[in-house]
Amino acid sequence: MNIHEYQAAELLANYGIPVNAGIVVSDPSGASRAFERVAGAAGRVVLKAQVHSGGRGKAGGIKLAGSPHDAQAAAEQILGMDIRGHTVRKLLVAPAVEIGREYYLGIILDREKRGITLMASAEGGVDIEEVARNTPERIIKVTADPLLGLLDYQARSIAFSLGIEPPLVGGFTSIAKALYAAFVGSDATLAEINPLVLTKDDRWLALDSKMSLDDSALPRHKDFERLRDLDEENATELRAKANGISFVKLDGNIGCVVNGAGLAMATMDAVKLYGGEPANFLDVGGGASVEQVTLALELVLADPGVRAILFNIFGGITRCDIVAKGIIEARKRVDVGVPMVIRLVGTNQDEGRRILGDAGLSSFETMRDAARAAVEAARG
């Protein structure tokens, strides 16, 4: 689960990280009022679009303002803006900061190291993936011991590698350790401060924060549900998830209903291979009961662009005859309205195909043939 910058900052502040606290507003007049409260002595604020997307700066989603009026004007520009498909509904208004130096400090679930890796760079404030691509030597990486956690000497070694002066090392290591504690304590998969700045008066400040949380760990963080922004999530995906179905909305017109995640991806790939475009990823899960098949159909049909539906079921423990009955029953409950192409193999496949045939539904034996037929059907 992704959360907004302001939510990440709040979370990090709870772990003792100095963040540039601001006020979240959702209308231009709010931005004007927020200016009065946060501008402070510097008399300037920064307004930042709160969307689950990078590239906010380039898209014009971050602006400075030197007066309440300017803040309101900037907010008018940013609110409602589309940033990589995300509509801006909220703004963070925070004090503008006199930046001395900028660093990058991030922590990731490191699949390659099978651990938790800290990454830091003196190239802060820029796209770190670009730094990683072009000048990887400017990124310092340290992997925490899986059982002991991040050790003090590791945090220090990052600081020294960044060339931070001795009197400032302690402040940096405190932040690195707090970020690690926040990462572990929140079951994050990513926690980033970019930039982590040293102000002109030598204070450390987390100027921008980003966090992603491990979906598998959400059950033990009940309080994180309040961080979920329904505006940022696809309603169909949420409904699927609540019912044990994995669903991801895509841009094509061939709806896919598959059992198994790997097979579901392979099905999408096959559609593409034969010239079509998948409308979704959908793993109906283990059971494939009438209820699940019905819901899967509803989810796929929620997308008005769908022109054909491709079922790809490999009956393993699940029997094909049961699946066939499920499809027929589901079709009665849902008004399908587009062609259905079914591929059904595995346990009891002959019986399953007979049942489909009796109901006037043709079916295929191979994924290739079914995918090809679905592409044809969508062109209709």
Partner: protein, 308 residues
């Protein structure tokens, strides 16, 4: 070819049980952790039906009962002491699965297969480190298990689609594996062993571990490797194949059409931070001499051509 019991070796990566007709064999004595759960009970029946020697189960507090005639114990230590279990399959729900893995490993079980899904990744970071420092091998979590056709089925795969044969199969996916197994069976190639290593970001056994076993296994003539988006294990496997695998390898990578930043079912199937795209994996495998099919069933065609 003689199946042999798990044996221990020296060295960091290789200090793990290696068994002819890899991982399981005639001396396998299977323990089912969480045996009284609905899914576990069902699959225990399926495994017994397939001929797998299921010797015991564990559900804390249910010691003294039995499931399909299999005695249930309160602790793994008791099950090992009483029934000589040497392989464990874990079906317990995610919140309790890390503890179940640790219990199995600390009780000295050399091969532990964890089916449970949705285990928090940071739990697995710790569990994996603990297991890696010990003589046990963990497969999974979030995997379908493994099968040596005609010998033992330790997992949730449909047994009948398999046929003892010449191809070793390793995969991050479940149903996609069945698809490929089915194609191999229909092509008359069959399988030596099919291993699902799991779809999570942090797993106990990697492609490389299993590829090395297949390379060493005299019965295995060809290898199928099924990857998917996310992480860079396929790239690492490609580098390993280039250096260490002499047998023909056919591959398939799922998720060519998957968008970045979206989790495609499996917790580990996500393109993020610029890594994990299917195209990179396919390119790496091809560069290592692996023939990559454009459909799952295609791997059977490739190997049929290479092995005949």
């Amino acid at each position: 070819m003689q199946p042999a019991p798990p044996s221990r070796q020296q060295g960091a990566e290789s200090r793990k049980p290696t068994i002819v007709s890899i991982l399981v064999g005639r001396d396998t004595r299977l323990l089912v952790q969480g045996i009284t759960g609905r899914e576990a009970t069902f699959h225990t029946g399926q495994m017994i039906e397939y001929g797998t020697p299921v010797v015991s189960g564990v559900t804390p507090g249910r010691g003294g009962s039995s499931v399909h005639g299999v005695p249930v114990f309160n602790t793994v230590a008791d099950a090992v002491a009483e029934t000589g279990a040497n392989v464990s399959i874990i079906f317990v729900p995610a919140p309790f699965a890390p503890d179940a893995i640790l219990e199995a490993v600390d009780s000295g079980i050399p091969l532990v297969i964890c089916i449970s899904e949705n285990i928090p990744a940071l739990d697995m970071v710790k569990v994996r480190a603990h297991v890696a420092a010990r003589a046990s091998r963990l497969i999974g979590p979030n995997c379908p298990g493994l099968i040596t056709p005609g010998e033992a089925k330790i997992g949730i795969m449909p047994g009948y689609i398999h046929q003892r044969g010449r191809v070793g199969l390793v995969s991050r996916s479940g149903t996609l594996t069945y698809e490929v197994v089915w194609a191999l069976t229909q092509a008359g190639l069959g399988q030596t062993t099919a291993v699902g290593i799991g779809g999570d970001p942090i797993i106990g056994t990697s492609f490389i571990d299993v590829l090395a076993m297949f390379e060493d296994d005299p019965e295995t003539e060809g290898i199928v490797m099924i990857g998917e988006i996310g992480g860079s294990e396929e790239e690492k496997a490609a580098a390993f194949i280039r250096e260490h695998v002499s047998k023909p390898v056919a591959g398939f990578i799922a998720g060519q059409t998957a968008p970045p930043g979206k989790r495609m079912g499996h917790a580990g199937a996500i393109i993020s931070g610029g890594t994990g795209a299917a195209a990179d994996k396919i390119a790496a495998l091809r560069a290592a001499g692996v023939e990559v099919a454009d459909s799952p069933a295609g791997v059977a065609d490739i190997l049929k051509a290479r092995l005949n």
